[in-house]
């Protein structure tokens, strides 16, 4: 049986908006095994992006515990969490969020500048990641010179360039046309199947969710049902 990469135990998350306390996650527990491709579905406001942010360590739960790759995230301070995130998590945003003043190559190199890798080592990793997403010939292009689908592929390459164990994707096809969305889903599936990456993807789209091996449904902050493909 595969190792459990993600363990979430009884996690709650409340936000305060003006005078109101908003309960976003209410006692969520779930596990994700190494090598899984999980789709997290649910209506808007169900808490799926919040759960993804907690998994990425860019937000903290109100209560409960999250362990990723054996590390309890609550035990890390802000600086340690940044380092942990850099080593273990690749994040794919709905709106790509590439740095517009950097080329595709430089966008990929950016997280690697936080390591002690030499320039040549960085180049090898960036070239490999661009090769995987099929954009080796676009490495000198700026984001504005790429299509939406290409931008998202570069964003995926940036997410995997540090070779993280966990890839988190927040509505990765939400801003793309059907054709580009299909390419991105193919790419994520390839990363999961060929490179063994564990992927947790938030999506509204049932067709996108079907590409995952497991679906989890969130509604009003609670995990309701699960389906396996």
């Amino acid at each position: 049986m595969a190792e459990r990469l993600v363990e979430i135990s009884d996690v709650t998350k409340n936000y305060r908006r003006d005078a109101f306390d908003i309960k976003v996650l209410a006692g969520v527990s779930m596990d994700v095994s190494e090598g899984e491709f999980v789709a997290l579905m649910g209506p808007s406001g169900s808490g799926k992006s919040t759960l993804l942010n907690l998994l990425a360590g860019i937000d903290r739960p109100t209560s409960g515990n999250i362990r990723v790759a054996g590390q309890s995230l609550g035990a890390l301070n802000d600086s340690q969490l940044a380092g942990w995130r850099h080593r273990n998590v690749g994040f794919v945003f709905q709106f790509y969020h590439l740095i517009p003043v950097l080329t595709a190559y430089e966008n990929l190199e950016l997280p690697l500048t936080l390591t002690k890798l030499s320039r040549a080592q960085r180049r090898r990793k960036v070239d490999l990641a661009l090769e995987v997403v099929g954009l080796a010939d676009r490495k000198d292009h700026y984001p504005r010179q790429l299509s939406g689908g290409q931008e998202q592929r570069v964003a995926i390459a940036r997410a995997i360039v540090t070779d993280p164990r966990l890839v988190l994707a927040d509505e990765p096809t939400g801003d793309l046309d059907a054709g580009s969305a299909q390419e991105i889903l193919d790419l994520l599936a390839q990363l999961n199947e060929e490179f063994g990456k564990t992927i947790v993807m938030v999506t509204h789209d049932p067709r996108a969710a079907e590409r995952a091996r497991r679906e989890l449904h969130l509604d009003k902050g609670r995990l309701h049902s699960a389906a396996r493909h």
Binding site: N53, A56, I58, D59, D78, S79, A82, G83, R85, H86, R87, F91, F93, Q94, F95, H97, I99, P100, V101, L102, E106, L110, P111, T113, L114, R158, T162
Partner: protein, 382 residues
């Protein structure tokens, strides 16, 4: 990281260029005021061993000529001479025809100005002839005067016109502005006025700059109970107080400089805050990628610092290239101070302000970027 900072600076070229330019222009103005103040205080030609004694109330008040002998008797005095500002009008009132004209004593003047070099026979000729004058090399060259030339200066402060014959030229080893002066025998005016025996100032050369404070105290104490009390000060301080007859120049310049820096500070803060606000999501992305808070702080601060340093460097480069020309222009307008010369002080001041401005302007946006919650940053645009 450096690449990211450089690219961010070039992201909105027009805004960066305008900000850098406005900092440069503000610092040029500040450097100019500073140089002008230094030039006015005569730091170049002022002799550290020379002090000036004048009336305690104001330079426009005179002291009895008899003070000279009493001051000469002070312990550390090597030489003493009188110095009266004649002013007057040479040819007409155009600024280029204005230059300082002092009435002094040819017998004692050279003792107090040992740094000046006189043309051969100049001193003897000057002493021998009541209507003789000596002129600085730069002034004589500017006016095209040759020894033997006769000039007329129409009195305005004093009701007497004087006709003077050039009998010698003097030069200063380092300060050309010190050569834009004319000296004549005050006895000429004194006699024309009926020997009132009134002196504007006494210039005293001491045996050592170390005895300056002691002699200043002695000179002021000497006339403490006299109707005409005196103020003694270093030559550099005197030059400034001479200019300050027009008002508190130093305060005025400092106030202008401060106002300029304050306004440019707020402009730069606003620009940097705007630039940082536009990149809120990018900062959140950097933090998601693993950039620590301190690294984000450094990126924003370094960007702002670069703008400040670039502005300062540009301002300084302009001053280096134009100080000479500005000096000549001011001289042509009758402002005969020392030359505008960039020493160590002004560049240090300009670069210091550039660095401080850059850091201070970037501090608030940098702290905001550092303390921003990642999820808030991602939510803002997305």
């Amino acid at each position: 990281m450096i690449k990211l900072i450089r690219r961010n600076l070039l992201r909105n070229k027009r805004r960066t260029i305008l900000t850098v330019l406005s900092i440069a222009i503000a610092l040029i103005l500040l450097a100019f005021l500073d140089l002008l103040l230094a030039a006015m205080s005569g730091v170049d030609s002022a002799n550290a061993s020379r002090l000036v004694v004048r009336h305690a109330i104001s330079l426009t008040f005179s002291m009895p000529a008899a003070y000279e002998q009493r001051l000469a008797a002070l312990e550390h005095v090597e030489g003493i001479t009188i110095m009266n500002w004649f002013q007057g009008r040479y040819i007409d009132d155009r600024p280029e025809n204005f230059f300082p004209r002092f009435g002094t004593d040819p017998d004692t003047f050279p003792d107090v100005y040992p740094e000046l070099e006189f043309s051969p026979g100049a001193i003897d000729a000057w002493r021998a002839e009541r209507t003789a004058f000596i002129a600085g090399g730069a002034l004589a060259e500017e006016k095209g005067w040759e020894p033997g030339d006769v000039i007329t200066i129409e009195g305005d402060i004093y009701p007497v016109d004087i006709e003077l014959t050039l009998r010698g030229i003097f030069t200063h080893p380092t300060d050309e502005a010190a050569e834009r002066v004319l000296y004549f025998d005050w006895q000429y005016v004194e006699e024309a006025l009926g020997n009132p025996g009134a002196i504007n100032s006494f210039y005293i050369l001491l045996d050592s700059p170390d005895n300056m404070n002691e002699t200043i105290a002695q000179a002021e104490a000497m006339f403490e109970n006299s109707p005409d009390q005196v103020r003694a000060e270093t030559e550099a301080a005197f030059f400034l107080s001479f200019i300050e007859m027009m008002g508190n120049i130093q305060f005025l310049f400092s106030a202008i400089g401060l106002a300029v820096i304050a306004s440019i500070f707020f402009i730069t803060v606003n620009t940097m805050a705007m630039a940082a606000r536009e990149r809120t999501t990018e900062v959140a992305v950097l933090r998601t990628l693993g950039f620590t808070r301190s690294r984000v702080l450094a990126i924003v601060l370094l960007e702002s610092l670069s703008v400040g340093v670039l502005g300062a460097a540009m301002g300084l480069a302009f001053m280096v290239l134009t100080a000479g020309a500005l000096s000549s222009f001011l001289a042509s307008q009758g402002m005969t101070f020392s030359e505008l010369r960039l020493g160590e002080r002004t560049p240090t001041l300009v670069m210091g302000i550039g660095v401080s401005l850059g850091l201070a302007a970037g501090l608030v946006p940098a702290l905001q970027a550092m303390n921003m919650k990642i999820v808030d940053g991602l939510r803002r645009v997305a």
